[in-house]
């Protein structure tokens, strides 16, 4: 019985033809090749096309009441890729990239500030009880205040629009970063701290070798959430106080009845936001290799 079984297994690779798709994309290297060889990309495509079809049907064919004023996918795409766009925004106009660039710059600055302040503060709060005793009540009070409630103060406090928009964007992402960094330290097993002390580690070494790497998975989860909040706050800020940027473009196009531009700017926000998250995920996977390998087991 067992002998027969092993014979069958030994014969398998030769008798079974390999699926052709794997060969086709095999050269693209491990992950991507395998993904393209599986059914996932085709299902993704079907889902996407289904969405576009529905959008088209609702706006252009049935003209459903809710969707009557909305541009259809074809209209949007025509405008988006036009060399001579009706409303002045397409992938061939400089202005489009100025809006994107300025929004990205604002998010980048705010995100950098939020990370630079939120991560160390969160780690310290998680690590040292005295520190969190000082900081916790006030932060817990400020945290639930919706970012929109800060708009008037932001405008009063900061000179010029630019800094107030960055400030609002910063607020959006700061608390998510802080809270997750703090939780990250809390998630570290107490035994790790004890073991480090047993092995003779100083406080600063414990911070560098235990607190920081131990909290890293949570920190990066926090960064992914916080970059999302940053975009959220940015758009709100730009709508209220901006002169440029994607949020401003959406609002401005609404007022000027340039509806396809709204959709273009919205899709652009979706794409840029996704790319942002992807970037952070890639960096995280690189820095937290131990976790990735552990999860792969």
């Amino acid at each position: 019985m067992t002998e027969m079984g092993s014979n069958v297994l030994a014969a398998l690779p030769e008798t079974l033809p390999r699926p052709p798709r794997t060969r086709l994309f095999g050269r693209l290297g491990g992950g991507l090749g395998r993904w393209l060889g599986s059914s996932s990309p085709w299902l993704n495509l079907v889902g996407l096309l289904g969405f576009l079809a529905l959008w088209h049907l609702l706006t252009a064919v049935f003209k459903a009441p809710l969707f009557a004023k909305l541009p259809g996918p074809w209209e949007t795409v025509k405008e988006w890729f036009s060399t001579n766009p009706t409303y002045g925004i397409s992938i061939f106009t400089l202005e489009y990239y100025q809006h994107i660039g300025l929004s990205c710059l604002r998010v980048f600055l705010a995100f950098l500030l939020a990370t630079g302040l939120g991560v160390p503060l969160g780690l310290l709060m998680g690590w040292k009880k005295t520190f969190s005793d000082y900081a916790f009540p006030i932060l817990e009070l400020l945290r639930p205040i919706p970012m929109l409630a800060w708009v008037p103060l932001a405008i009063l406090m900061w000179p010029g629009r630019e800094s107030s928009i960055v400030f609002l964007t910063f607020l959006g992402s700061f608390f998510a970063t802080l809270l997750n960094s703090w939780l990250g330290v809390k998630s570290i097993d107490e035994a790790h701290f004890r073991a480090a002390k047993c092995l003779g580690a100083s406080e600063s070494l414990i911070f560098r070798k235990i607190v920081w790497p131990g909290a890293m998975p949570f920190v990066f989860t926090g960064l992914q959430i916080s970059v999302g909040y940053a975009w959220f706050s940015l758009v709100a800020g730009e709508m209220l106080a901006g002169e440029f940027g994607l949020g401003y473009l959406i609002w401005d196009s609404y007022i000027l009845v340039q509806y396809p531009v709204i959709i273009i700017a919205m899709i652009t926000l979706g794409v840029v936001g996704s790319l942002n998250s992807l970037m952070i995920r890639k960096i995280a996977n690189f820095l937290i290799r131990w976790k990735v390998r552990e999860d792969a087991q």
Partner: protein
């Protein structure tokens, strides 16, 4: 050969009082552990064995009594021991740093104590792993290994500090019976190589007899020493020893003492701590 490491526990008492409930975990517990002795502490769950270990390691302060290490006062009320590399702990659930490879984990001690520069520390760690037959896992992360392998690596990390006292808190509890025998053999070899004083906590009586020079049976909480059993079996020991008559007699004696206490603990409604 021995590096010292005599532990003298005198009338150690510990009251936990987190919410005013006043739980007495250790009650005037005294113990004299000789240098290089392999002492195994057995007793019912939650009896206070770990409390004693924590006091020696320096994680807890005593309420009364003192602990001496080689005649020097180590811990007393108001003056808890500071955790240090002369008394390294191997933890119940393991405490290898998951973000470091096994080699980096093992090199952690000498690096933290600034005894060696990184290249030398890694070299020394590699040598230690080789001596212990663990070279093949040097570049793995702990999460990639079985718990038996992790436990061995943690013992290797502890031994890099050449501690006077090696404190082990039920280190093999989660291992299956087969892995356990391998781990025992491993620990015996480590012990025979350097002869640190070992303070080993367990529930497993076979494990206790097989490893120990001396078994301390603890009473149920509050813990004191109920019975001391010398295990005069020659070293190095082999797993077949467990089937021998001497071993069986010792085990029965040990079992009797533990059973009495376990019954008391059970009727007192004691739960795992």
């Amino acid at each position: 050969m021995s590096l010292g490491g005599a532990i003298s526990v005198r009338e150690a008492t510990k009251v936990y009082d987190p919410d005013g409930a006043g739980v007495l975990a250790l009650d005037h517990c005294s113990m004299e552990i000789g240098p290089g002795e392999f002492s195994v502490v057995v007793g019912p769950s939650g009896c206070g064995k770990t409390t004693l270990l924590n006091a020696i390691a320096g994680f807890h302060e005593l309420t009364e009594g003192q602990i001496f290490l080689d005649g020097q006062l180590l811990s007393s009320p108001g003056q808890p021991a500071k955790p240090g590399s002369d008394r390294v702990v191997v933890f119940q659930n393991g405490a290898l740093f998951p973000w470091l490879t096994i080699l980096e984990n093992v090199a952690f001690g000498p690096l933290a104590q600034k005894k060696l520069e990184p290249p030398e520390a890694h070299k020394a760690a590699a040598t230690m792993l080789e001596t212990m037959g663990l070279s093949f896992i040097a570049h793995d992360y702990p999460g990639q290994l079985s718990s038996g392998m992790r436990r061995r690596a943690e013992i290797a990390r502890a031994m890099m500090c050449h501690p006077k006292v090696l404190l082990l808190d039920e280190p093999f509890r989660a291992l299956d019976a087969l892995t356990k025998t391998v781990a025992h053999q491993f620990l015996m070899e480590v012990y025979d190589r350097e002869r640190p004083t070992v303070f080993f906590i367990t529930h497993d009586l076979d494990e206790a007899i097989f490893l120990a020079s001396r078994v301390y049976v603890m009473t149920t909480r509050p813990a004191t020493v109920k019975k001391i059993l010398d295990v005069p079996l020659p070293r190095p020991r082999d797993f077949r020893l467990l089937a021998s008559k001497e071993c069986q007699i010792l085990r029965a004696e040990c079992q009797q003492a533990v059973r009495d206490e376990a019954l008391k603990a059970f009727s007192a409604g004691e739960r795992e701590m």
